[in-house]
Homo-oligomer: 405 residues x 2
């Protein structure tokens, strides 16, 4: 009897969707396309030469450990170096507060597993990082979105939403935030906004997931305190990653949290992958303590700042009236808003015909809004291609606006 | 308000347990202890020199791709090479039937996620691999164990159990088997037993997970067909891994299955870690197509065969009457059975005092039996230490038997 799989899959499997972005990226991989669609670091940021030497050193000096199973909590030295780095920024943590994850996506997934029951609410931004929406949704969570202003998630709207859900006795597990250079919108929350959101979490007893992949990629302005630093109640979980400061191909990140959360996370990680890849953990540790690390990070920040500037200039030069965009102080993305009568879906195909690609902003909205927005990445394409791509995109948008009149 | 985490964790979190083995391994890591407890490959099996060259080659020739995000399905070339290898063994597969996983543990976990609802039955061996029990249990599955004979899981007992569960209308999702050199018991199922189990799966419409980490580590005897080869109904999912034929520190495995299962698996993997570590995938691909691979594998098989022989000889020489053990045709483990009046828990502490360690067999039994059994690993300890360790263990057992009289 040939198997009928549909009646075999679990309830959780019904929540799984093909990632809209992954599918779209397949369309945009033709070499002639200028892609603002991905969320990739520039390959020019990868310290290839340094890593060659480090790979040989690790295999020579500690090959037997680097190729063996490692501790679920992560490589001891790597964890120590990450603690040192937080200490340098003024945050004192214990070893029991930090665990290595197989990049931030695993952290999001396992936090979903250990905290979310079907029907729990997760509060997120309008818009929000798609990988987080998918991970939480895959455990049956209901995503509830909060609109943004120029400082990110609005705390007044958050308070209203939380209050109204709580009055209906609806369970709220997390507030999910990307406080620095948010993906996809590019906004950074000032200290006061962080504080206001945290106070709501305190008052209504809700956890906060602070996803912080871009924090070290600040081009200008003052660094704002982490939610983790502002809290003393144990309810903030902060995620970091090597994907944007070293190499996404390492699949390495970490989280810091209350020790009881770390403890439960480690149990979930044991069943998920036993441990993160060991060779690359040891390589990341050596890189983190080398001089190259800070130098290369500064170089990368400078490169991305310049690319952002070129993009902003090109927008100013080419975009028709009625189109607005965010000006991120760091990170990889900015967010474009079209006049309300134009949907970005409508111009997506025509943009592809003109060999330029972006991501429709609607995929980042859990409430099916944002159809007139688009996410634009500036870290990956080369400078000349940014200029040319924006020009092409502006032409397509200009034409769509004139047709819609 | 300081957070009260206990009321925050999910229903799934309640199923998570600290791995009994991981905790125990921490006890056995003192250098003076001869450990038969772990499940580690010998570091002598790691091709460190070959990997140094390969790491440099990958970073030189394809560094930008090796450090970037990769496809969720896995590195294309690595998947092709794995398909080639199956083809060499007579199994024709399409690309859509194979996906890379972050080692077998991720495969077990995500198969749990996409197939298991709380209360579903998973049929496993008495004993079974602990990581599988934990992964399935973490989705609320009920584990139902089937006793073994010298050929592994008994098909008559399996038929009775399945029949009785089906009569009570209980949902059964998988039969979980490790057909070659089973962990922990060391048995290999002959063709006829595989066929008998598969017929039960056909008759009662149950999926089979064939976990196959040791298949290529055969010391002697005839290779038996994979469940995957014997089935044409699409219900067998087979897991492979680089952990025992290259390096567990790479965290790389794969699964082969019906394309609709692979499809759902890929969606689950997108939310779990986006993709497996790319640098080590590209390293594994180059190693797999190099001459070193088959040479090193033969060398490893020979090394483990010799270690098994030394262990069996030492058992014969030192173990008191009433103690029996399995004689595995391959793999990493054998299983020791004490006289029924002795529990291995009882002698565990005394063994540690004599600086020798093993794993209590009961942890591999989902029905809390097997207290007079122990799992013994022979791949990791050096030859001389195998001799000495068995001697010490035999002394402790001999003493326990004489005290129990």
């Amino acid at each position: 009897m040939v198997i009928d799989l549909e009646q075999k899959f679990s309830n959780l499997a019904a929540h799984l969707k093909r990632s809209a972005i992954r599918e779209l990226l397949k369309l945009t991989q033709k070499p002639e396309i200028i892609s603002f669609a991905g969320g990739l670091p520039s390959p020019d940021s990868f310290p290839i030469e340094a890593l060659k030497k480090i790979a040989v050193d690790v295999l020579t000096e500690e090959g037997a450990e680097a190729l063996q199973y490692g501790p679920t909590e992560g490589d001891f030295k790597l964890r120590e170096l990450l603690l040192d780095r937080y200490r340098k920024f003024g945050l004192e943590l214990e070893m029991e507060n930090l665990v290595i994850s197989t990049a931030s996506q695993q952290a999001l997934d396992l936090l979903g597993k250990i905290f979310l029951d079907a029907g729990d609410h997760v509060i997120c931004g309008l818009p929000s990082y798609l990988g987080a929406i998918s991970a939480f949704g895959s455990y049956g969570a209901r995503l509830t979105g909060i609109p943004f202003d120029e400082h990110g998630m609005r705390s007044d709207e958050l308070r209203e939403t939380v209050k109204s859900l709580k009055e209906k006795d609806e369970p709220i597990k997390f507030i999910y935030v990307v406080p620095d250079f948010q993906n996809p919108a590019g906004m950074t929350m000032p200290h006061s906004r962080r504080r206001a959101i945290l106070e709501i979490a305190w008052q209504y007893d809700i956890l906060i997931i602070e996803d912080s992949p871009y924090r070290e990629l600040r081009f200008e302005g003052q660094s704002q305190p982490m939610f983790y630093e502002l809290d003393s109640s144990g309810r903030v979980i902060t995620l970091g990653t090597f994907s944007k400061i070293l190499a996404p191909g390492f699949r390495l990140g970490w989280l810091i949290a209350h020790k009881d959360i770390i403890d439960k996370f480690v149990m979930a990680k044991q069943t998920a992958d036993l441990c993160s890849p060991v060779l690359v953990q040891k390589m990341a540790a050596r890189y983190l303590e080398s001089e190259d690390f800070e130098k290369n990070l500064s170089r990368t920040v400078e490169m991305y700042r310049k690319k952002r500037d070129i993009m902003l200039e090109s927008f100013k030069k080419h975009m028709p009236e009625g189109v607005t965009w965010t000006t991120p102080e760091g990170g990889l993305f900015l967010f474009l808003r079209l006049p309300p009568q134009i949907t970005s879906e409508r111009i997506f195909d025509r943009s592809l015909e003109h060999n330029v690609a972006f991501v429709n902003g609607a995929v980042f909205h859990c409430n099916d809004c944002g159809h007139n927005t688009m996410r634009i990445n500036f870290s990956y394409p080369e400078e000349e291609l940014i200029r040319e791509g924006v020009k092409r995109l502006a032409e397509v948008i200009t034409q769509a606006i004139s047709e819609a009149k």
